[in-house]
């Protein structure tokens, strides 16, 4: 489904997704939907903006997603609210699914999620009986070790209520980075070529070998989150990662367990960083290649609802810079695999011809229609793309039937304990993007929020610890610590803490756990155990933060003294 359709849903199940902070313009659709009478069920451990205007807010305990999802399915089935016709005509695996969800009674889920059983029932009824019903989910689902299971669990809800194949229904992941969808579309994935074509499928591989003129590996590659392991712990020299070409990313800030990442970068024989700004990763790189930034080059992004849209050069870049594709092209050529593209459109045209689902999405169409949502299979101007998937209950499986998958809930990998009695989850800061190399260099966004960021804590916890708003606190996990400011708020539950991840000093990824979802390889950013400590000498702490900031900025090539904080 598309972003504009959100506001026309009858019911929105907003699950682990805080649009107001991550995608304000998507949140706008939710607000508009509410004004139009859309029912909102918000599942989030915090009182988010969506929760605030929701009809039902299930303020679950962090790490209990799957239990709640399964319980909703349990209620829908047991109360006879399932769309049996849709299940019979369009899906497989329902009976196996029922066996798993049988034990997830609302009462059982209540013990795990701390959401009252009756609330779960009401939510399930509201979702199942209001049409069309849409599900949006975000990192509150994905950044758990049980991420894929929960996504499938949400899909189960949509399948069993027949909420697929029409406008304003289905399930929608709202991705974090602007072009995650694009990077995936383009095959920046260890298991897929562009257009989600499997590297292990010999037919497909043959197609790409032919197009690219070289034999290709049939082995699924290494996931980015496995890199530390493959550098630090791999004993076999031939299997170890020896070179790391990092392009437009800052793992030394964005990845979990930063201490481990720094060690990885230092132990890796050769690290190339290609970026626009000096960043934390650059401190460990052997080579730094400067590229043009957004606003200085052309191209295409894919937005969260599969819409291809043009980006354009707005200003002329510094003449000393090259675009990313030019740099890659030159290295490739120098390594003996020549590439000679003149512009992005040439690259694009090569790509779409290799990807059936993208084939019709030409630059011409993007210019004309603004946005083309894939699948767009035909280059004729009549094929304007696909606003929503699975039309008519047809799924992208061999028999066109949707599949139920159910899994049992398990707790997060690291739970609160005596030493670290609170939980920590990472969240977004609305005014900053990713590791903030861009937004942190934007004057007014920097003015609005700056180092060392905030830790959101329940007001009762703060009172108990004698903490007031703005006070600097030390926050620790068994992997590390950082300093940040305390933000007492009644939007979060006692015992839980929330931090945004873009700060250098309040760097919550010093604390986070690098345990991964076994399928998506996503780290468990949303749950680890931590402890908050009061800092007695606030004056010292303020100076310390200032010194640290100046020190890091100096490392980043900025003369100290600029940018008050």
């Amino acid at each position: 489904m598309g972003i504009p359709e959100i506001e026309d849903a009858g019911c929105l199940l907003c699950f682990g997704y805080n649009g107001a902070d991550s995608h304000p313009i998507v949140a706008r659709r939710i607000v508009r939907g509410k004004q139009k009478g859309m029912k909102i069920i918000c599942v989030d451990p915090r009182v988010t903006e969506t929760a605030r205007i929701s009809d039902m807010h299930l303020q679950l305990k962090g790490g209990s997603n799957l239990a709640l999802v399964n319980a909703m399915a349990n209620v829908i089935w047991n109360e006879g609210l399932a769309d049996i016709k849709f299940i019979e005509e369009h899906t497989n695996g329902f009976d196996e699914f029922l066996k798993v969800i049988e034990k997830y009674t609302p009462e059982y889920a209540e013990t795990i999620s701390h959401v009252p059983a009756e609330e779960i029932r009401k939510a399930a009824r509201l979702y199942a009986t209001t049409k069309p019903a849409m599900i949006l989910y975000g990192m509150g689902v994905c950044q758990f070790t049980q991420a894929v299971d929960v996504v499938k669990g949400l899909a189960n809800l949509a399948l069993m209520t027949g909420n697929f194949g029409g406008p304003s229904m289905g399930i929608g992941p709202v991705r974090g980075q602007n072009n995650v969808q694009g990077a995936c579309d383009m095959g920046a994935l260890p298991n897929c070529y562009p257009g989600y074509q499997s590297v292990t499928d010999p037919e497909i591989r043959a197609k790409f070998e032919k197009a690219w003129g070289v034999p290709l590996s049939d082995k699924v590659g290494c996931a980015i989150t496995h890199v530390p392991h493959r550098v630090l712990e791999e004993k076999d020299e031939t299997k170890r990662i020896h070179a790391y070409y990092i392009f437009g990313e800052d793992p030394a800030q964005s990845d979990p367990d930063l201490a481990e990442i720094r060690e990885t970068l230092d132990k890796c024989d050769f690290v190339v960083m290609q970026d626009i700004y000096m960043n934390k990763t650059g401190l460990h790189a052997d080579v730094i290649l400067p590229s043009t930034a957004w606003g200085e080059h052309d191209g295409v992004y894919t937005c969260a609802d599969r819409g291809f849209q043009r980006i354009r050069k707005v200003i002329e870049p510094d003449p000393g810079l090259k675009t990313d594709w030019q740099i890659i092209q030159e290295i490739s050529t120098a390594m003996g695999y020549p590439m000679h593209y003149e512009n992005t459109e040439e690259i694009w045209n090569e790509m779409i011809d290799l990807c059936p689902s993208f084939k019709g999405a030409t630059y011409e169409k993007m210019e004309k229609y603004g946005s083309v949502q894939w699948p767009c299979r035909d280059k004729s101007m009549e094929d304007k793309g696909t606003p929503y998937l699975h039309k008519g209950g047809k799924f992208a499986t061999k028999d066109n039937r949707g599949v139920f998958y159910a899994t049992d809930w398990h707790p997060p990998m690291e739970l609160e304990n005596d030493e670290y009695p609170m939980s920590l989850s990472t969240v977004r800061e609305v005014g900053h993007y990713s590791v903030r190399t861009m937004t942190g260099n934007c004057r007014t966004l920097r003015n609005l929020e700056d180092e060392p960021g905030w830790v959101q804590m329940n007001t009762q916890d703060c009172e108990r610890m004698g903490l007031v708003k703005g006070e600097l606190v030390k926050i620790l996990s068994k992997r590390g610590y950082c300093i940040t400011r305390c933000l007492p708020t009644d939007r979060v539950k006692p015992g839980a803490t929330y931090m945004t991840y873009q700060w250098w000093i309040g760097a919550c990824n010093e604390l986070t756990n690098a345990k991964l979802d076994p399928i998506s390889n996503t780290p468990e950013y949303k749950y680890c155990a931590c402890r908050v400590e009061k800092i007695k000498d606030q004056e010292w702490a303020e100076n310390h933060v200032k010194e640290l900031y100046d020190e890091i900025r100096t490392q980043m090539g900025i003369t100290a003294g600029k940018g008050d904080h």
Binding site: S217, T238, K239, F247, D255, V272, I331, G336
Partner: protein, 144 residues
């Protein structure tokens, strides 16, 4: 002063908002960003869309804009030294070839970028990793 208007897609989240930039071409500077009537944003922008472009003016707040290729010529922990593009490209190519020769293509990992570079650069990166290096070791930070 005539301002040139250029529309582009916002780089700050998956909402894909359309922004109309007013540019002072002579000064090569953005003057302002106004919401355009995109499919998803319908003439609205959030704070990042409205005000998230002035890093292009390199205000020297947080980090230095990279303008020259740099190499740690003395190995790890040695200072970065500015070099020419030719030298940088050749150096990277040589080192990668050397590692590939010594340990095989799977000893090299590359990333795509879910951020500013765009789809074409991602396509080229994975093509480079797969066709030039010969590995499927390519991934990106989708999960953050």
């Amino acid at each position: 002063m005539a301002l040139k208007e250029i529309q582009s897609t916002c780089a700050y989240c998956g909402a894909g908002c359309q922004i109309l930039f007013r540019v002072d071409e002579a000064a090569n500077k953005i003057v302002e960003a106004v919401p355009a009537n995109g499919r998803t944003n319908a003439g609205t922008l959030c704070l990042k869309g409205h005000y998230g472009w002035d890093y292009l003016n390199d205000p020297q707040i947080l980090t230095k804009r990279l303008r020259k290729p740099m190499i740690r010529k003395g190995g790890k922990k040695s200072p970065l030294v500015e070099v020419s593009w030719e030298e940088a490209i050749q150096y990277v190519a040589d080192r990668l070839n050397e590692i590939k020769a010594k340990y095989g293509p799977d000893a090299i990992m590359g990333t795509g970028s879910a951020r500013g570079p765009g789809n074409e650069a991602n396509y080229l990166m994975q093509k480079f990793m797969r066709a030039c290096i010969g590995t499927n070791n390519v991934d990106h930070c989708a999960r953050i």
